[in-house]
Amino acid sequence: MKKVFKLEDLDCANCAAKMEAAIKKLPGVTNATVSFMTQKLSIEADDAVFDEVVQAAVKCIAKVEPDCRVILR
């Protein structure tokens, strides 16, 4: 499954790259991108663990940039 989330207050391009690297390393993630320009996070992961992956990804993002919020719909 692949889903795209909007990010708010993602202020630094290097942080985006760091988040992306961290999320890609999460178990169950097949691909992930964090786009600084469009302020979007896209995650491709196994359906079975998708929700856990999203929660873990949110934590990764908070770790790198505490002000950045993920809009979960």
């Binding site: 202020d11 391009a13 290097n14 760091k18 991108t33 320009m37 908070a62 505490p66």
Partner: protein
């Protein structure tokens, strides 16, 4: 500017004023430290907070942490003005970056502002205003002048002109009347239209284009991945360098504070921001600028590959030619040209074949169907028809052989339709596909841009293909190819080591589009297969967009390279000068922020596609 940005601007101004005031006051010692600490905290409190959070989260090489370390270090060695200034300029750089990025984000969003807000639908005689997503296939849409066409549709009633500029970059409005197709996302200009919805929203042209554009930032270019990988190493290396510089030389030479200052210079330039921001910003700008001309590029990696393309392969029909057949010549024997055309048109009057349609189009006036007797379609050969009581054969050379007519071929290239009365040969009609107006110019422009080779891959007859290739000045012409053979030819070219772009109309060349380094689909409005399988989609069908796309891609790559060289060059220079004691903190912070601003301004040039 957003609220956050306005607040930052205010902080920058207040802090700058206080810094100047602190510098002018004749203060010494603790008082001087306090005087600079106030503007320092005003401008830097969020950086300090971020640094503290970073430490808690184990993000030690976070740029905020490094800035905090550098400035607090400067306070420690009593360089108060430098400490405040470094923080101030760092924030100015960040502010500038944030404004520039949100500007370009907005302008590109405006460029792609083609999303229809609502659709007016006629249900049970009543007009309802709905979300385009709620409209079902086949419903009747009412589109007023000035409104955006919400879904792909076919005009039922009314006539108008339609502005497709947002989709194709073509500023000339298109006239539409009953039976014409409307493309969602374009704007109805003059008349009220009633139209039948031909797609649901999710499958409409506008939804597909928006999806493509929104996903374009996901596909990162090789150079972008390279830079982020580089950034991951750059910061730790510089920080280790700073550490060594602060400890090793003073062990032998003493003078700890002097070496500490040099180490702090290292920390100031340890953030790879300029580099990391400018690369995606350039690609974003290039892709956005291209979309203004109706050139949709699926991602930065595609743009990067396009810039290096040295071989262009073309499909013929519909790509370089109009894809519409027209009668080019009528060569009768025994009868008059009009008579020949009249008989052929009558015989073909029930056929839907494009060749038959072109003959009917060339024939003036209507055909009296009562003149027709029995008609027999001969598969692969043509038609046998009774017209005015006499039996005629209309078709290819094989048909003439079969009926024993004394036929001869034409000296003109093209599709030749022969005609006989019984076995008596009456002559032939030559049908050709005409070239697109700008095809020859486009090929010439590509060559001027240094494209090494142009190849045409056609399924058509060799003589026809060679004729077209000759007219356009294409280097290599390969004809009579089945779609599978086109893939083989492309693979053979790829094996020779060239970077290859294939340009097709996407109708039956999806496999080739996928196989080429860059697949370019043209005239893609409404063609789903093309949008899916191509890397670059030309919204209109003009070959002249190709050189433009190539120029945009190359300009973007040039700007990306300029930025990498500029940012790295200046940083390395500052590092060297800093280590040798020839640079001070002022130079370091000016250099760093200056390069960031220059790189961003340079990246913004990508958006202006007037190349």
């Amino acid at each position: 500017m957003s609220r956050k940005q306005k607040k930052t601007l205010l902080r920058i101004i207040v802090s700058a004023v206080l810094c100047v005031a602190a510098a002018l006051l004749p203060l010494e010692g603790v008082w001087k430290a306090l005087a600079f600490a106030v503007p320092y905290l005003i401008i830097g409190y969020d950086v300090l907070r971020g640094a503290a959070l970073g430490i808690l989260h184990g993000q030690l090489l976070d740029e905020k942490f490094l800035m905090a370390l550098a400035t607090l270090g400067a306070f420690a060695i009593r360089e108060y003005p430098e400490a405040a200034a470094v923080m101030l300029f760092y924030q100015i750089g960040e502010f500038f970056q944030s404004v520039a990025v949100s500007r370009s984000r907005k302008s590109i969003a405006a460029l792609m502002d083609i999303r229809p807000d609502s659709a007016t639908v006629l249900r049970d005689g009543e007009e309802l205003e709905l979300d385009p997503e709620e409209v079902a296939l086949g419903e009747t849409l009412v589109i007023r002048p000035g409104e955006r066409i919400p879904l792909d549709a076919v005009v039922l009633e009314g006539s108008s002109s339609v502005d497709t500029a947002a989709l194709t970059g073509e500023s000339m409005p298109v006239d539409v009347a009953e039976g014409d197709r409307l493309i969602s996302g374009s704007i109805n200009l003059t008349g009220l239209l009633k139209a039948r919805a031909d797609s649901v929203y999710a499958e409409s042209t506008v939804a597909r284009i928006l999806e493509l554009v929104e996903n374009s930032a996901e596909k990162k270019a090789r150079v972008e991945s390279f830079i982020t990988r580089f950034a991951r190493w750059y910061t730790p290396i510089v920080v280790v360098g700073a550490l060594l510089l602060a400890i090793v030389p003073p062990l032998f030479a003493g003078n700890w504070s002097q070496w500490l200052e040099r180490a702090l210079i290292f920390l100031v330039v340890s953030c790879p921001c300029a580099l990391v921001v400018s690369v995606p910003l350039s690609f974003f700008g290039g892709i956005g600028g291209a979309s203004r001309h109706g050139i949709l590029i699926k991602g930065a990696s595609e743009l990067e590959t396009l810039a290096g393309v040295d071989t262009f392969c073309f499909d013929k029909t519909g790509t370089l030619t109009q894809g519409r057949f027209a009668v080019e010549a009528v060569h009768p024997k025994e009868v008059s040209p009009d008579e020949l055309l009249d008989i052929a048109a009558a015989a073909e009057s029930y056929s839907a074949h494009p060749v038959a349609q072109s003959i009917l189009q060339a024939h003036e006036g209507d055909i009296d169907k009562s003149r027709l007797g029995e008609i027999e379609e001969l598969a692969g050969l043509g038609i046998r028809a009774v017209v005015d009581g006499q039996s005629y054969c209309v078709g290819n050379a094989a048909l003439m052989e079969k009926v024993g007519a004394d036929w001869h071929d034409c000296h003109l290239p093209g599709t030749v339709i022969h005609l006989s009365r019984g076995s008596e040969y009456l002559g032939h009609i030559v049908i050709n596909d005409s070239l697109k107006d700008d095809a020859a110019d486009a090929i010439r422009a590509l060559r001027e841009l240094g494209v090494k080779r142009t190849v045409m891959l056609s399924g058509d007859k060799a003589s026809v293909a060679a004729h077209v290739a000759g007219q356009l000045g294409i280097d290599t012409c390969l004809a009579e190819l089945l779609p599978v053979q086109k893939v083989e030819q492309v693979e053979a070219l790829l094996a020779q080591g060239c970077t290859l772009a294939y340009v097709g109309d996407g109708i039956n060349d999806a496999p080739v589009l996928t196989r080429a380094d860059v697949g370019i689909a043209m005239g893609a409005l409404g063609s789903d297969a093309a949008i899916e399988s191509a890397d670059i989609v030309l919204m209109d069908d003009k070959p002249s967009r190709l050189p433009l796309a190539l120029r945009i891609a190359r300009k973007t790559m040039r700007i990306v390279r300029e930025n990498i060289v500029l940012a790295l060059g200046v940083k390395i220079l500052i590092l060297i000068l800093g280590a040798l004691g020839l640079a001070n903190m002022w130079l370091a912070v000016f250099g760093d922020v200056g390069v960031l601003i220059l790189a961003i301004l340079n990246a913004l040039r990508c958006m202006r596609a007037a190349v």
